[in-house]
Amino acid sequence: MIHQGILRYAGLRYLWIGLVLIAACGGLYATQGGMYPARGDTWQGYVLGSVAALMVVWLSSIGIRKRRYGSGSGSVQGWTSAHIYLGVVVVAVATLHSAAQFHWNVHTLAYVLMCLVVLSGIVGVFSYLNVPGQLSANREGGSRSELFGELFDLDKRGREVAQRCDPRTGAAVISSIERTTIGGGVFAQLLRIDKSLYDPGVVEVQRAKPGLMRNADQSAVIEYVASRVPRADKRTEAANLQSLVLLLCRRQTVLRRIRRDIQLQGWLKVWLFVHVPLTFATIVAILVHILVSFLYW
């Protein structure tokens, strides 16, 4: 493959720029000397703080840049690569600016929020690096709509064969198809929670409570149909049950793939729901931090 990931972009250009920046900021910090504890309100502290604040503004501007499609300022990939490396560096710069003096106040709040943004960003980078490969492996060259297409086809064929089986098995299988759930809320998507049910019929199952039973991963219904095969009366019945088991197992595989696809897509996106709002919160906190600093000068 000739494609190049975001981290390796342009021979790690932005990693080097980031390291140089840290070194420069570290040097600046050191010029404050060890005479009295370093603080944010020395001139070095102000420079470091300004650099960090400008970096935050620049880092958040990626949201606009990536949507300015006619822009001539490099590629979005380059911006993303720089965003990642310099996003990590901003923690170092801000820490030097703060001189590690944390208290229960708005200044520390801004710092903590910024750290959370960077942390969520790191989660994002991690998922961007790992999830696409898993997604593609899970789909095996197909697309999600193809998976759903196959599922609908299997549903249809499953119903057809189920109608040819004895009424109770048929009803159980059809209920399992109708009561299959995919997706759901955020956690159901991210954790692949499967609340599928099926109705095995009243008499057959030796349980006190008749009605719907759990059918997570479709295993219960498969087991149910499989258990009917040895008890089949006729050859045609056995054949129908056999093909039903086959269809249900394929259906299970397809459903697993779909859920996995939903889960992985979810992980690709969910971090942004933390990253972006916290960015706004950080910017507000920084503004307050700056304002307050000048008020009490």
Partner: protein
């Protein structure tokens, strides 16, 4: 018509009431009126029940364009761009007003006789006599009939305009092609449909249709069924009963009667050629797109029979109407009429030295070039009108004078709202094209000389003189130019666009042979004999021929003893080797390269099987000829051997890494063998943000030309539905206004003259062309970010076009590789993770070999 006595003869009978025929009849009627004749001397015969059959059949409200814009209309009928209804209505009013002697429903079955006394036999036995006949029957032909008693019933139809118009009927669809399948599928949504198929299967159908129809037939709840190996025996109308028709079918299991409301036959059309030939008109060859030979006055080889409109090779309405006018004038004795495009030709020629008038210039050009002499006057005029004339002057006062003159002409044209049209003025020594540019044209030297400079070896340059031509390599293979062309002293060139040239080659065997021959000579020079002259290679080239292979056809097989090599003129070859019983692809060879040369250079055994990746044209060079070339002192033996040994290692490397071969195989199956610039997405990097699609829509008026999610994937490589800018674009093949162009840098794009006919969409095998209305304008990015105004970024699903957009009609859109966007392909630039990339064929090997760039 019965009132006509056998002795009565019309001066002019026109067959076909399309734009060409109507316009011819209108002119004849006007001439009758002017001469004060009360009895018409013309007759217009139309087989269908209304005028302009093809346009009648367009969908309701379809916008019809008036291309080409540079041509003025010359007709007694009105015509300007507008809706189908407006145009049909204007013609109806006009032909009634003018008083055309039109007979609708008059199907012409035969034309016999000679000039002065043609006998036109109509269906039903009536006879029309005429001194001259104009054929304006178009190319569509008549639909094939069912061919069973009763097939003339009103309830038997040969087209389907709106499947939704029928509800809960029983309908028989006859036919097994795509049209029949598509109709049957659409009808079966709310009707009971039977397909009657004469064969055992649907072998002619497209894959998509085949799968869909088989699925619909096997669907037990569906409303579609099929009779295989079945013929219609009889159709009877059951007066007063519903359903109206009783259709008797001859099935393998015996006769069966189906009662139905209607029968739709989709058996294709009888091309008009056989009818035209039955009159005695000759076609230059058997190609399906051949055009009959015509004189400058549209007269065919049968004197007194004239051909105009799309049958004469002019598919556009305005051209056809102008020809109708002209041909009637000619027939009624106007010998001095200048064609409607006289002025255009004058402008084209006005910058050449010693220019007098267009007719003289045309004669002069024609006499100077052997290839032009092969053309008849009409074909040559057409070639010139579609071409550009360039003249080189020595840098100095003369050059400045001419440039000023042309600039003034263009400025004048601009004030009249015309596109510029004038001779192109160059300086001697100017570069005509650079290597690497995508050639879209073919050059003929009328005067002076041109120098072709080889890039590999700049010391070798060829001097071409008047009568010779160049640029044939790009014309035939679709590959970029390989040399630099420089205008020499006093050079006058005719630059002809590719599609005109292709049309010409298809209709003129001599031109085709001439270009084929020169191609072979130049390829021999390029590969084996860089300093050979034409004379040196003449005999050898004459003995070589171009062989055509269909996609998938085997050129040579592994294990054979080879005695020849191949030069690939167009298309490409796949080389594969057998490995444990499987075929492993080891190489792709593109147009312009050699294949199988190792058999003549050390190892006579074929180590690979070569198959045509797509339709390919190859030049075969046998051992004797090769040895003759290799013995020449200028033979580049060293480079040839080096290239051959590089291929040995490349092939071996691919063989030991079969996964690369299977990825390459995937790329070829996806049609990348003919691509020049393709969007490839690395799935292991793609996060599915669709920023590529959004970027495409935002930089292209709100309509995305790429569909990321669709398209095939293999081993993490995803080929989305997006244009690949093919070497020989399928979309360009059949564009009436010639709106699809290729830029010198290779991008294939559609310009604003698109008439929305949809031919390109149908011709593209990769489904990358969409027909869409203009999308509504959106508020800017900041307005959206801050206030949420508008539908957001990217193409808005199911956007509602404005009234103006609807009036303009649907237009074809496709990827133009961001030729109009300053900062390069927006899809690639907008990809945050580097997953999207556009590559050309030269990087496929890198792609499969995981070489990072």
């Amino acid at each position: 018509m019965t009132e006509q006595t056998p002795s009565e003869r019309f001066r002019l009978a026109i067959v076909g009431a399309g734009p060409a025929g109507l316009s011819a009849a209108a002119r004849a009627a006007e001439l009758d009126r002017k001469a004060g004749r009360s009895v018409p001397t013309h007759i217009l015969l139309e087989g269908s029940p209304a005028h302009a059959k093809t346009i009648q059949r367009y969908q309701k409200g379809k916008h019809v364009m008036a291309e080409p814009g540079f041509l003025n209309l010359r007709s007694d009928l009105r015509f300007e761009a507008g809706s189908r209804e407006a145009i049909l209505d204007a013609w109806l009013q006009d032909y009634k007003r003018i008083g055309i002697n039109m007979h609708l429903g008059a199907v012409v079955e035969a034309i016999t006789g000679v000039r002065g006394d043609f006998v036109i036999k109509l269906k039903g036995g009536a006879i029309v006599r005429a001194e001259n006949v104009v054929l304006a029957i178009g190319l569509e032909g008549n639909p094939r009939k069912v061919g069973a008693p009763g097939d003339d019933s009103q309830a038997v139809q040969y087209q389907l305009d709106d499947p939704k118009a029928y509800l809960n009927e029983t309908i028989i669809v006859v036919g097994a092609g795509d049209a029949a399948i598509e109709n049957a599928l659409a009808l079966s949504e709310q009707n009971d449909v039977f397909i009657v198929n004469r064969g055992k299967e649907f072998s002619r159908a497209k894959d998509g249709n085949l799968t869909a129809v088989l699925a619909a037939i096997s669907d037990q709840n569906g409303r579609l069924d099929v009779f295989y190996e079945t013929k219609i025996k009889r159709i009877t109308e059951r007066a007063g009963q519903t359903p109206l028709l009783a259709v008797v079918l001859e099935t393998p299991a015996g006769e069966k009667t189906v009662e139905c409301q209607r029968l739709i036959a989709r058996l294709g059309a009888e091309p008009p050629r056989r009818f035209v030939e039955s009159i005695g008109i000759r076609f230059p060859n058997t190609r399906s797109d051949a055009i009959p030979e015509l004189s400058r006055r549209y007269e065919s080889n049968v004197q007194g029979i004239f051909i105009i409109g799309s049958l004469a090779g002019y598919p556009l309405i305005k051209q056809a109407m102008n020809q109708g006018y002209d041909v009637a004038e000619f027939i009624y004795g106007n010998t001095t009429l200048k064609p409607a495009d006289y002025q255009l030709v004058e402008w084209q020629f006005c910058g050449i030295p010693f220019f007098k008038d267009p007719d003289e210039a045309l004669e002069r050009f024609k006499s100077k070039v052997p290839m032009f002499r092969e053309l008849n006057a009409l074909a040559f005029r057409e070639l010139i009108i579609e071409s550009e004339i360039s003249v080189a002057y020595r840098d100095g006062p003369e050059y400045l004078d001419e440039s000023r003159k042309i600039a003034a002409l263009i400025a004048k044209q601009a004030t009249q709202g015309r596109q510029p049209r004038a001779t192109r003025i160059m300086r001697e020594g100017d570069v005509i094209y650079e290597p690497g540019e995508f050639g879209t044209s073919f050059f003929t030297i009328v005067n002076g000389s041109v120098t072709l400079q080889s890039i590999e070896n700049p010391s070798l340059s060829a001097q071409l003189a008047a009568g010779e031509f160049f640029g044939e390599m790009s014309l035939l293979s679709g590959r970029p130019r390989t040399e630099r062309a420089i205008a020499g002293p006093a050079c006058v060139l005719v630059e002809t666009p590719r599609r005109t040239m292709v049309k010409l080659m298809n209709s003129n065997e001599e031109v085709r042979k001439g270009i084929d021959w020169i191609f072979i000579v130049r390829e021999l020079q390029r590969h084996f004999a860089p300093s050979a002259t034409f004379r040196d290679l003449r005999t050898m080239a004459a003995g070589l021929s171009v062989k055509r292979y269909k996609a998938g056809e085997v050129v040579f097989s592994e294990g054979e003893t080879g005695d020849r090599l191949y030069i690939i003129r167009s298309g490409g070859l796949t080389l594969s080797r057998k490995l444990d019983g499987h075929d492993v692809m080891v190489a792709q060879i593109a147009a312009g390269s050699l294949a199988g040369e190792m058999a003549l250079m050390g190892d006579p055994e074929r180590r690979e099987t070569a198959t045509a990746t797509l339709a390919a044209e190859l030049i075969e060079l046998r051992r004797d000829d090769f040895l003759t070339l290799a013995r020449r002192p200028d033979a580049p033996i060293d480079p040839l051997q080096r290239a051959a040994s590089r291929r040995v290692t490349d092939n071996a490397r691919m063989q030991v890494r079969p996964e690369s071969g299977s990825l390459m195989g995937f790329l070829m199956r996806e049609g990348l063998g003919e691509a020049t610039d393709v969007l490839v997405i690395d799935e292991s990097l793609c996060v599915g943000c669709d920023n590529c699609e959004k970027a495409c829509a935002e930089t292209h008026d709100g309509v995305s030309r790429l569909d990321r999610k669709s398209g095939a994937s293999f081993a993490n490589v995803h080929i989305p539905i997006a244009c690949r800018h093919c070497e020989q674009p399928h979309c360009m093949k059949d564009c009436p206004p010639n709106a699809i162009r290729r830029s010198p840098t290779g991008e294939v794009y559609i310009n604003e003259t698109c008439i929305g006919c949809g031919n390109c969409q149908a011709n593209c095998p990769y489904d990358v062309i969409r027909m869409v209305y203009d999308a509504p304008k959106k508020p800017g990015l900041l307005a959206w970010l801050l206030t949420g105004a508008g539908p957001g970024l990217g193409e808005q699903a199911d956007y509602q076009p404005s009234e103006a957009a609807k009036n303009k009609g649907k237009k074809a859109v496709k990827c133009d590789a961001c030729i109009s966007v300053k900062n390069g392909p927006a899809c690639v630039k907008a990809c945050p993770t580097g997953a999207a990339m556009r590559i050309g064929p030269e990087r496929y090997v890198d792609l499969v070999e995981e070489r990072r760039g």
